[in-house]
Structures are given as C-alpha cells and as structure tokens.
Subunit: 98 residues, 2 copies
Amino acid sequence: MAADALSRVFEALADPTRRDMVARLAVGDATVNELAQPYDVTVQAVSKHLKVLQEAGMVSRTRQAQRRPVHLEAEVLDLMTKWIERYRTAPPEQGGPR
Amino acid sequence: MAADALSRVFEALADPTRRDMVARLAVGDATVNELAQPYDVTVQAVSKHLKVLQEAGMVSRTRQAQRRPVHLEAEVLDLMTKWIERYRTAPPEQGGPR
DNA sequence: TGGTTGCTCAACCAGATGGTTGAACACATG
DNA sequence: CATGTGTTCAACCATCTGGTTGAGCAACCA
C-alpha cells in the first residue's frame, strides 16, 4: 500500500472488521481480547487489524498491567473529511472545504 | 477485499493515484488517455484503476465514437461522509450524523 | 518459583492488487 | 478494405493482505 497518511487512513477503513472495531472503540477503550470477542477469528488476527489502525494513527495503546487497552484517536478522520468535502455533490455549507 | 459498498469506496480512495484521478475528474470529464498522461504507467494500468473506481460507483463511462469519457459520480462520497461523521472528534454541528 | 493470562512476533499460506506485455476489439478515416 | 487510434482483455509476475499455528514475552497470582 502507498505510504502516505491519507492512504493509510482510507486503507484502514476499507475493511468492515476494522470499521466495526472503530465503532466499538467509539463507545470506550477496550482490550484486544474484548475487541476480538465478537469475531470468529484468532486474537492474533485482531492484533494485526489493530496494528493497521495504529499505523494509520487512529488508535493508541497504553499499558495497564499486562493489558494493553486500545483508545480511539478520531482526529485523523478530519484528514479524510477535508479531502472528501472537496468532491462531495452535496456541500454541507457554501464556501468550500471547512 | 470485502465486497460491501462502503469498503469498495474506502478501498478505491486508498490509492493516491486514484485520488488524483478523482481530483482531475472533478474538473471535468476525461478520456483514459488524458487521465493516463500525467502518470508514468501504461494506459492499461490506468484502465484498471478506473475499473476499481467504477466498481465503487464513483465514475461512469459513456461512449463517444471510439472514446470512452469518464465522468465523476460523487454521490457515493456521501456514504463515506455519513460513516465518518459518527466518529469525528470535531462535530460540524450538534445533533449527530446528518 | 512456577503457572496462568494477555498480547505480540515469526513463519507460512491462499488470494488479491498493481504493474507489465501482447493480443484483440471498436470505430474513424485514407 | 486497410490502417491508425482508443480502449480493454488475458496472462503473467512480484508484492501485499488477512488469515492461520506455534513460540515467546510481560505481568499478575498461588
């Protein structure tokens, strides 16, 4: 995949599992195990997904004993929004991109 | 890649070349050759990129003699915007997603 | 100390992606 | 009809992706 920030964010959200995780994290921080629970994949696979989100700057990790809670960092979404606003058909307000 | 519409749109825009093409098409329709001109790849490669954009519903093709002009269909971007708005840190207005 | 829990790293695999070249199709024009 | 232009299709290739299993590390607990 291309290495630029915008590409990483779009790429990260191109996977429904990852979008789902973002939705889950919007409710509150969660551990890898908690995030893996709804899905029919191994914890390792979920850990990989998180790595993608982390490299896109969308989540951060802390340490809490042996747990590594995941925290949503939604600021990067604004990067995408700024790009998209330029090409939307239905401008949310006049005057170009916010 | 996952087959759902939202994933296809995110995926399509995860490539800087394709984003660039969208930017070019926002100015006006263009043929495959015109679109390929700025890039250091074959016309076939550009044709493949267009196929991705088309399958994401972001462009349509007509026929004009032997040319097949490409037209931007920006409506699908709203799909993405709706998703994103839910998780942005800086809500453009109160009251949840538009 | 030794075991258990939470997580990551490494190696591997099947399938997708983005590029190539070469051939073919569609249409206009000599 | 033959040739040139614009585009796509097919086959191939290297690399990436999303999954697996197995091993290992870090921190708590008995």
